[in-house]
């Protein structure tokens, strides 16, 4: 009997240890090139590769989980997954609810896309709900129309519901390129936010530390820069060896 209890305890302990090493990565899966669902039905994109590499370096086993953008923060804090790695910019408002690691993607440019070159970006502008861009549009004096998914913001411009869409430029570039001239960039690019970081629970300091360390090492050996160039092109803003932002 004693032996049985001991083995059970040992099993429970080892199971506990194995558990601590599995990290569930929450993402949206609808925001290429950051994250999207590929033809095989798996999470793919820049963040998939960065996330997998971070896990390898930090010695974690990782599992990818899809979640709606709307409820991505509530599900993190209630413990359905352990990180948010979904192109989420670090902002003071989000930082009050969750914690962020250091940025693994430099502050990105956001841009306006419209169906005609003379579109008025002060008029009705579409943006995804609860994003930096939505906040920016609301402050800019234009009328903001919000949508739950990035796809719907583009559709709103195509069908004339909004005169322009405001989103991350890297998300918009492939869409504009393949629109056969129907869509185009208008106005100036705007630099928003202070980079994209991995979101973790405020109480999860240990995981945050491990990820921070892994991000630092990826910045130092240039592997993060290589991934950014792979997914965002040679002209993308990258990191130097000391972690400083480099414009190419």
């Amino acid at each position: 009997m004693k032996k049985l209890i001991l083995t059970t305890a040992a099993l429970a302990l080892s199971a506990g240890m194995a558990m601590a090493d599995t990290v569930r990565m929450g993402t949206e899966g609808a925001y290429p090139p950051y994250n999207f669902i590929n033809d095989a039905g798996e999470v793919d994109g820049f963040e998939r590769e960065v996330g997998d590499e971070l896990c390898t370096r930090a010695g974690l086993t990782c599992e990818w989980v899809k979640n709606d953008w709307d409820s991505i923060i509530p599900n993190l804090v209630s413990g359905n997954y352990d990180t948010i790695i979904a192109g989420m910019s670090i902002t003071p408002e989000r930082d009050e609810v969750i914690d962020f690691t250091q940025d693994y993607f430099p502050p990105a440019a956001s841009a306006y896309v419209a169906a005609s070159a003379d579109a008025d970006i002060e008029d009705v502008v579409a943006a995804q709900t609860a994003t930096l861009q939505a906040g920016f549009v609301a402050d800019s004096g234009a009328t903001l129309v919000e949508f739950a998914t990035p796809e719907e913001t583009i559709a709103a411009v195509r069908n004339g519901e909004a005169s322009a869409v405001f989103a991350d430029k890297d998300f918009l570039v492939p869409i504009v390129e393949e629109s056969n001239g129907e869509l185009m960039f208008v106005g100036e690019d705007v630099a928003l936010g202070s980079g994209i970081g991995v979101g973790v629970r405020e109480s999860d300091g240990e995981l945050k530390g491990k990820l921070d360390e892994a991000i630092t090492s990826m910045k130092a050996d240039g592997s993060l820069t290589a991934l950014i160039k792979k997914w965002f092109g040679e002209g993308a803003v990258t990191y130097g060896e000391d972690g400083s932002v480099v414009t190419n």
Partner: protein, 295 residues
């Protein structure tokens, strides 16, 4: 899927579609139909039994039990579904984890609620953090079944309660006159006769339940509406071998056909069931059947 799918750009329209419609994401889409059908198949009987228990409780002569039944019906029917789905599922999940936490980790000293975070020890997580993704999905499916059953059970309870009251009182008095106990009267006279009164209400509920399945996505289950939205969205050639413009209209049109077809089949089945239940009943339907036989 097919050997010629290696280079989709070079394919003709028919072959292109046969490759496109059989790739990995589409398989997930088809699987989500199975999920919805299984959810309906499991939820309907469970909700009906919740409803039956609720109706029995509401009819009880023991006051606390009757209050419990009536309270269940009134509260769940009064709360909007979407609020119920968002709040109840998180509460249920956290309730399970809290109980497991109390049992499995008695010497955990940190508070469970730290600011916004809900923290239980890793052994109390449900499912365990190390469990494969399908376990997580099954678990959320299970939560979905419970939530749907509680919501629709309350409506079913009200319908069944009404059905039980609609059975002619003379039937029950006759049963009593024959010396049947209260229990015997209930099971042998009341229950077999009440279905015909309850069925129109229950068939309504079934159709509402079919249409309520997209609420699954609120529970983190990738249902057919989620996949239709995801697959129909614009795909650019950088991220897929099958680029296409915004096809959501076609995908949603397909869903429309699916839902309409499904409700039509349900109506036919329910109609047959109604005829079956009306046999020998003292209702207009039963009367019509009797005349057919004699004529």
């Amino acid at each position: 899927m097919f050997s010629f799918c290696a280079d989709p750009d070079a394919l003709g329209t028919f072959r292109w579609f046969s490759c496109y419609l059989t790739n990995g994401v589409h398989m997930s889409f088809y699987l989500s139909f199975v999920k919805v059908l299984v959810l309906l198949a499991v939820t309907a009987p469970v909700a009906l039994s919740f409803g039956f228990a609720g109706a029995m409780a509401a009819r009880s002569h023991v006051f606390p039990v009757s209050w419990l039944g009536k309270g269940y019906i009134a509260i769940v029917r009064g709360v909007p579904d979407i609020a119920f789905f968002l709040f109840f599922v998180i509460a249920l999940d956290q309730g399970f984890e809290w109980m497991r936490h109390q049992i499995l980790c008695p010497d955990w000293d940190a508070p469970i609620r730290q600011g916004n975070d809900f923290l239980v020890c890793s052994n109390a997580k449900l499912p365990l953090g190390s469990a494969p993704q399908w376990v997580h999905q099954t678990y959320s499916f299970f939560l979905a079944v419970i939530t749907f059953s509680i919501v629709f059970g309350a409506f079913a309870a009200n319908v069944l309660y009404g059905g039980m009251r609609a059975v002619p009182h003379a039937q029950l008095e006759t049963a009593e006159a024959y010396g049947m106990s209260r229990r015997q009267t209930f099971w042998r006279v009341l229950v077999p006769q009440m279905w015909v009164y309850a069925l129109p209400g229950l068939s309504n509920l079934w159709l509402v339940l079919i249409k309520a399945t997209p609420l699954l996505f609120l529970l983190g289950i990738e249902d057919i509406v989620y996949w239709a939205r995801e697959l129909g969205g614009t795909k650019t050639s950088r991220f897929t071998d099958y680029p296409h413009p915004d096809w959501r209209m076609w995908y949603f049109l397909f869903l429309l056909v699916f839902y309409l077809g499904f409700t039509r089949v349900s109506e036919i089945v329910l109609e047959k069931l109604m005829v079956r239940l009306s046999h020998g009943q003292a209702t207009t339907g039963g009367e019509a059947l009797r005349k057919q036989v004699t004529a």
